[in-house]
Symmetry: C3
Subunit: 337 residues, 3 copies
Amino acid sequence: MKHVLNLHSLPDSVWDVLIGEALKHAENRAYRSNQHPGKHMGLVFFNDSLRTRVSMELAVAALGATPVTVTPGSGTWGFAWEKGRPMLGGEAEHIQEAVGVLSRYVDALGVRLFASGTDRDQDREDALLQQFAAASAVPVLNLESASRHPCQALADAAVLTRHFDGHAKRKKFVLSWTNHPKALPMAVPNSTLLMAARLGMDVTVARPDGFELESDVMEKAAELASSSGGRVQESNDLQAAVLGAQVIYAKSWGAVRRYEHPEAEAKMRQSHRDWRITESHMHAGDNAQFMHCLPVRRGVVVDDAVLDGSQTLHLDQAEFRLHGQKALLDWMWEGKG
Amino acid sequence: MKHVLNLHSLPDSVWDVLIGEALKHAENRAYRSNQHPGKHMGLVFFNDSLRTRVSMELAVAALGATPVTVTPGSGTWGFAWEKGRPMLGGEAEHIQEAVGVLSRYVDALGVRLFASGTDRDQDREDALLQQFAAASAVPVLNLESASRHPCQALADAAVLTRHFDGHAKRKKFVLSWTNHPKALPMAVPNSTLLMAARLGMDVTVARPDGFELESDVMEKAAELASSSGGRVQESNDLQAAVLGAQVIYAKSWGAVRRYEHPEAEAKMRQSHRDWRITESHMHAGDNAQFMHCLPVRRGVVVDDAVLDGSQTLHLDQAEFRLHGQKALLDWMWEGKG
Amino acid sequence: MKHVLNLHSLPDSVWDVLIGEALKHAENRAYRSNQHPGKHMGLVFFNDSLRTRVSMELAVAALGATPVTVTPGSGTWGFAWEKGRPMLGGEAEHIQEAVGVLSRYVDALGVRLFASGTDRDQDREDALLQQFAAASAVPVLNLESASRHPCQALADAAVLTRHFDGHAKRKKFVLSWTNHPKALPMAVPNSTLLMAARLGMDVTVARPDGFELESDVMEKAAELASSSGGRVQESNDLQAAVLGAQVIYAKSWGAVRRYEHPEAEAKMRQSHRDWRITESHMHAGDNAQFMHCLPVRRGVVVDDAVLDGSQTLHLDQAEFRLHGQKALLDWMWEGKG
């Protein structure tokens, strides 16, 4: 079944088609509209969303299909996930039935299911997403899980492809950790890194010591870079990293220490409040563009002047969610590519 | 006006058409699609829902109409129901205006309005549903009220008709009370019993003493059975009841004692925790199928092995909600049958 | 850009077209249906809604477009509004990005954003609505702001035009303050007054001393009346005001004192509980019709007998929300008129 739980396991041929199709959707809003009349898509949001829900509902509708959104715990009961234990708690339905039932109504399921922040193995392996997909009789599209955000990565890849006019290879891309009041999940940094590596960019992951990404992700990125002719390196010096950068992609995430020592992690983050992208970082680049997946905390992650300036792609990234998701749905339902 | 507040008051000719149409929708997803362009349907959920909301929104859309869902108290204020009393409380709008207004926008209203659990007469007579329908200028479809769940009953009737290839008559159907942490309402057991009796099945209501259904429902079931050539009996012995059963339909409900003595009722339920459907009950049947309206508590109402086995119709029942509701809407809007 | 933040700044030619179109939509439900296929509309509700959300979703769908509803704080995070301050609080996204992003997905944005009740200048100037509109790259439709409710005013104008068969001019219109347990915002009374003045009606604002509307609104109303041949006066005597009235439009609002002395204001209101429209007020009129924008508190704002009688337009007003909004969207998207 054509689940899309991450992008890195899609073959290059599909990856290329998806980017190409996203760009066509961006150029022409009517492109492939109403190609899937009578199809239904279920969108299950275990976590809050703005861009994702709005762009998914509109992508589905633009293709002529019907979206239906489910928010567990709001208008419907919560779901139990554990297996083999009598359900005597607050959850009235098991995810096995919930997904089984939805599968009978729809032609694809999208699901947003963030990291627990408390179970590192479960988060790293996207165990809940895997369980959800296993219960589904229809293709599942990951709308941000514990460790991956393929829709964001596809949107970003298409934005970069357009920005560099198809020549993103070897362009200097800095994925910079930033300050944030909370220990955020790693889905976006993971997927961003893998995306940029796959595009063959010259990637630097800039982060304070202790904020390394998971090693399996770094290894996968190195592997993709080696195939694509790109490069992946790390730096704990933001000032040095941004020199000559063509893209500065800001994103905060929690240190892996949070799983065992959340208070120690909070303290670590406190001491790096200067990791905030400013105009001076931007000027140190080479006509650098700012990127962020949003939502973004102004004055914490990045200065207002950067977001309000002209050297930023953040709204394009949001817009391309719509275009990329149309391409993904089309591929899931029709096998283009 | 063609309100559908229960199924038992529909004439046999309509009942037959609805089941027949539901089966056609199940066979061919495009059947009668887009037959009602420009129609609008309001769906009002005073209580949580998964299957009902999703399948109603999709049924309406598949017919070419537009659904709009309202959840009183979430995104809109709560509604007052009492008449003739100055509205000085938390509710900003009276149900009279709320329904009156919605009636002006839509061509039918669906409403979910569970039992109070505290006012037995009101629940038994579906008094709030009647009030809602009386305020409406358009047909009202009951999406589960205090004492009836016609959409579930129609889905189940069509599933049984398909399963027995049109020969459900005299097949042995056990409606079994089960263990549950809460005193649930009686809408589903009531409607299930009336449905099976109308199909002419050989029905046993298995329940511990004290968990009898309301006497007016038992009488109505006997009447339907007498017309259809079926039979209705009761048993307080689950083991004996399931012998030779072709269908075991599990469902928990609260004892009527809950209205006056909720704590005594909870204690009564505690002493019947062994009323949980297991593989051994299933094996005692005659190639028995398990049924449940969902949501279901695994390990409490039924064992995982039954739900995960091959002798169960629970996902078909959920699926047929969609098919049956298309048939109902079509009939409400077009008078087929 | 064709924002519709209020009605009074639309030229007379547009105003006339909108009323005329609303009446056509009321006569023929299929009028101009499916004129805007492929268009998307975002509906952002910072406050509760029944009529507005339902009628907007259906208006958009009837025109062939796709609505998508966002409820900040429910399913999505809350938004920050302050500028130039590091976002360290509970809000994860700034309204600047939220609106900027939505603008990329849709062809118009509707927004409901009630009065703060605490910042009089902000409320009077609709400062938050202005900020929202400034952040938007697409036309913004006001779905009730701190100080205006143009969709209600358009609906009411069309209802009055129909009721008086096009001859509303010089008909006696009483906008009457009423009792209410809370200090409500002024958007509806402001817009109602301006609407009736523009129709050239003979308007009396009846309210207890201390419940005057804001002076800028009274001045604007006088100006509109002077152009339209109408009249605007005030009265603190409800009994006298309703004599000979052809329309009694009930609505409660808070005294401006609430901004500085909320407790004193509550006490003021307490002493005017007899400002409740009764049948005797209606009989004092000249075949008077009751009007109210809803939701309405029965027995507090108006007696049940008036709402349940035949001399009331309140459900027509609600219905015309749908018709008027179709006209507004059509005009925003196509420039009719």
